[in-house]
């Protein structure tokens, strides 16, 4: 052996054995988006100071650092916004040629795509969700919704054959903090396509993407007053709901608030759609493609830190594969990367607010107290910010709070079943009925299950998949009315006989 070759052999022998492959941080740049120090209310096409004079601070939940001062709209502010919307409705927008309305919507969609990085970063900074999701899911889907409803704007007669659709008027829309921009798109796109004008209130904790959206409206040269954005907490929402000149309320949020809204609106003649909580069953049969089903379980509950109304928070596993599925699930959970939402490798980001973190912690504690078995993978959480380790509970009884109440966090409860009938019974045994998942290789079983599951959306061999063409909405305490698809136009049109 030559000296060189011996040297090489030596080097090869001493090749260090890797003990870890830590991915270096890969953060998306924050400075692509410019956050102002303070924001007013977007009314009549421009930012105005709140008459209330009240402001609050919106924060970055991953760093617990203030981002901006945001206006708290009061009664006078909401009234001003509704009047601006009424004015825009009466003086132009509702009479505009539908193909012209479509042009604005197409423009908005394209601008969202062009500025997608800005929106993705802002959504992650203000909401805590991983950039991978805001970049690959939230923002592209928001743009897709505008594209989709832009297409309907001049074809409404075809959406409702033999009827003559006309707009409802001014729509008051209140959206949650889990998908701020996407929920805005779900609400605004069909409303404008059908010729309505809008007053939208983003969630208290996540107003920034809606405020950046105002700049998109400016670029699109949308006529003033067609879309108005009022920020603030529940008080602003309540003012909007009770305003006498609003024709329709669309609300996405908690069941508790949804019920209160319905009470307020009773007898007023205002239209209402509600998209509320959920406690969805994700049902795994023994013939399911197991590794993919495990991905579906993970995507079902840990997507967006579990802040998803249709999250698959109750896992129903056929007993014969229970141990295999749980072993696979636990191993997969250990590979979830929890941390900086702006890191491109992060799978699970920050909890949206302190309040939500407290709620999750309390419910998890109740699960432990009631006797469920808890598993959390080893996980190093950042020191600052609001975080919760992905959690799974096994040995859960249907009667435990964690199997009944919506946790809205990265917490999964596992139950078992023996027959399809039992799976249906357990899946439907909840006050909610928003969504469900079925995993099986058997097509006939998918259809049979979907027919019997009382849930607005049933996913087969996938989970948390959204498309603007697919209607979304709930049964029972998960609300009523559909968003997305042709069905999503219905709440925004009055149908006269042709």
């Amino acid at each position: 052996m030559t000296k060189d070759k011996r040297e090489l052999a030596r080097r090869q022998d001493k090749a260090p054995i890797a003990t870890a492959w830590d991915y270096a941080p890969a953060p998306e740049a924050r400075d692509i988006v410019k956050i102002q120090e303070r924001y007013g209310l977007f009314i009549g096409g421009k930012f105005v100071e709140p008459a209330s004079g009240e402001r609050y601070t919106t924060i970055d939940p991953a760093r617990e650092e203030p981002l901006a001062e945001v206006a708290q709209a009061g009664k006078a502010d909401v009234d001003r916004a509704v009047r601006a919307a009424r004015d825009a409705f009466a003086n132009g927008w509702s009479a505009l040629r539908p193909s012209e309305r479509a042009k604005y919507l197409f423009r908005i969609a394209r601008l969202l795509q062009e500025r997608s990085r800005e929106f993705a970063v802002l959504e992650s900074i203000n909401g805590g969700k991983p950039i991978r999701e805001s970049r690959d899911v939230d923002v592209p889907l928001a743009a897709a919704h505008f594209f989709y409803y832009a297409g309907w704007a001049d074809k409404l007669e075809y959406a409702f054959p033999n009827r003559k659709p006309r707009p409802v008027g001014v729509a008051g829309q209140i959206i949650p903090w889990n998908f701020p921009l996407l929920m805005l798109a779900w609400k605004i796109a069909p409303a404008l396509a059908a010729g309505n004008t809008v007053v939208l209130k983003p969630a208290e904790t996540t107003p920034l993407s809606a405020l950046l959206f105002c700049d998109v409206l400016r670029q699109a040269e949308l006529p003033p007053g067609v879309v108005n954005i009022v920020t603030g907490d529940g008080r602003a929402g309540a003012e909007l709901v009770s305003h006498p000149d609003v024709n329709k309320i669309a609300f996405t949020g908690s069941t508790e608030v949804g019920k209160a809204i319905q009470k307020t609106l009773a007898g007023t003649g205002k239209r209402l759609t509600l998209e509320l909580g959920g406690k969805a069953a994700n049902i795994i049969f023994d013939d399911a493609p197991l590794d993919q089903a495990v991905e579906g379980i993970v995507n079902g509950i840990y997507f967006n830190q579990g802040h998803v109304c249709c999250a698959g928070s109750r896992l129903l596993v056929e007993e014969s594969i229970y141990e295999t599925v749980i072993a696979k699930l636990k191993r997969r959970m250990a590979t979830l990367r929890v941390g900086d939402p702006l890191d491109k490798n992060t799978d699970v980001g920050a909890i949206n607010s302190k309040q939500q973190l407290d709620k999750i912690s309390a419910l998890v504690q109740s699960g432990v107290d009631e006797g469920a078995e808890i598993y959390q993978p080893p996980c190093k959480l950042p020191e600052r910010g609001y975080w919760f380790v992905p959690t799974v509970f096994t040995n859960v009884a249907q009667s435990y709070r964690i199997a009944q109440e919506e946790i809205f966090g990265p917490v999964l409860s596992v139950l078992t079943f023996r027959t399809p009938d039992e799976a249906i019974e357990k899946a439907n045994n909840t006050p909610y009925g928003l969504s469900a998942g079925v995993w099986t290789e058997k097509g006939s079983r998918i259809l049979a299950m979907a027919q019997r599951l009382r849930a607005g959306v049933v996913w087969a061999n996938t989970y948390n998949r959204f498309d603007p063409a697919a209607p979304f909405g709930g049964y029972k305490e998960s609300g009523f009315g559909r968003e997305g698809g042709r069905h999503g136009l219905e709440p925004y049109v009055v149908l006269d006989d042709a």
Binding site: A18, Y23, D291
Partner: protein, 313 residues
């Protein structure tokens, strides 16, 4: 655990070691997962780690009709010392050649850590008699090959004669046993579905494969990320069910460092660190090496160097 050993229809597998249930693969979800893992952003030290690994785990390959002793000798030298100007660059894992060229590769790599792998069993089509396949295997081992890359009988597989596929692997394994490592090429580009990839993987493993390998590199569709993921999941199931360790080799179509890193990330996140060693994972490639060398130098210096500074062999 309630998972029974499941037998692909029409033949029987030995009950020991127990195999995981045959199971099924959902194509949409599999591809989604592979695509999502491919978005991992691997930078700086993490990238250098991966590139260094990629070289250590590389089967530097030449499989051309035009291969000559000179070409193989040059390739072997390249494999032993990929970058003469940088002593920190490791050798590749093996040189992979056609049977006739095994002696030249063996001669040139003698005394180094670099192994010689030979494709055999009527590579790439496998359309030959079992006797010919066994003979070829015997010959390459006698010529000094440390590793044998066999192809499965796709003709038999696709016409449902699984027993024949299994049998061939077993017979080739008998020839290799104790003398050479056996890598079984599934040629996934011809199998049509991920369910078939899973089934063929299980067959190969049951037959005694030390490694399962995606492709011959002779088809337009070779190693893809979803195909590798599908195979890694089989390896994982087998390991969990039986404790048996099976290696993975992705081959064909991997030309860029970026791809190599994506394949490694997938191994890392599916099978863990334990599989990130040349004993358990290989990348079969002919042109990848220089791109990896170039990327390593770029990471270290911040600049891309002219390709003329990397030897072409």
């Amino acid at each position: 655990m309630a998972t029974a050993p499941v037998l692909p229809g029409g033949f029987e597998l030995p009950l020991e070691p127990r195999l995981p249930r045959l199971g099924s693969v959902d194509a949409v979800a599999l591809e989604e997962r592979a695509a999502s893992l491919a978005t991992r952003s691997i930078k700086r030290e993490a990238k250098l780690f991966a590139l260094d690994l990629a070289i250590r785990m590389m089967d530097l390959t030449t499989l051309e009709g035009a291969d000559t002793p000179g070409k193989v000798a040059a390739l072997s030298s390249k494999g032993i010392r990929p970058d003469p100007s940088d002593p920190n660059i490791p050798s590749v894992a093996a040189i992979c050649v056609y049977p006739n060229l095994v002696p030249y590769a063996v001669q040139r790599t003698k005394g180094t850590s670099v192994k010689v792998a030979a494709v055999a069993t009527a590579f790439p089509s496998g359309q030959s008699s079992l006797e010919v396949k066994l003979l070829e295997t015997r010959e390459v081992i006698e010529a000094g090959a440390h590793e044998v890359d066999m192809v499965i009988n796709r003709g038999a597989f696709l016409s449902g004669r699984y027993a024949e596929v299994y049998d061939e692997v077993v017979r080739v394994k008998e020839v290799c046993a104790g003398r050479a490592h056996l890598k079984v090429i599934l040629e996934t580009g011809e199998l049509g579905t991920y369910d078939n990839v899973r089934r063929a993987s299980l067959l190969a493993i049951a037959g005694g494969a030390d490694f399962i390998k995606t492709s011959t590199g002779k088809l337009p569709t070779s190693a893809t990320l979803p195909v590798q993921l599908c195979m890694l999941e089989v390896i994982r199931d087998v390991h969990e069910e039986t404790g048996r360790v099976v290696g993975m080799k992705a081959a064909g179509g991997i030309r860029q460092s970026k791809q190599a890193v994506q394949f490694l990330v997938q191994v890392h996140e599916t099978l863990g660190l334990a599989w990130l060693t040349p004993d358990r994972y290989r990348l079969g490639a002919s042109t990848l090496l220089n791109d990896v060398l170039m990327q390593i130098r770029k990471e270290r210096t911040g600049r891309y160097q002219n390709p003329d500074y990397f030897t072409v062999d």
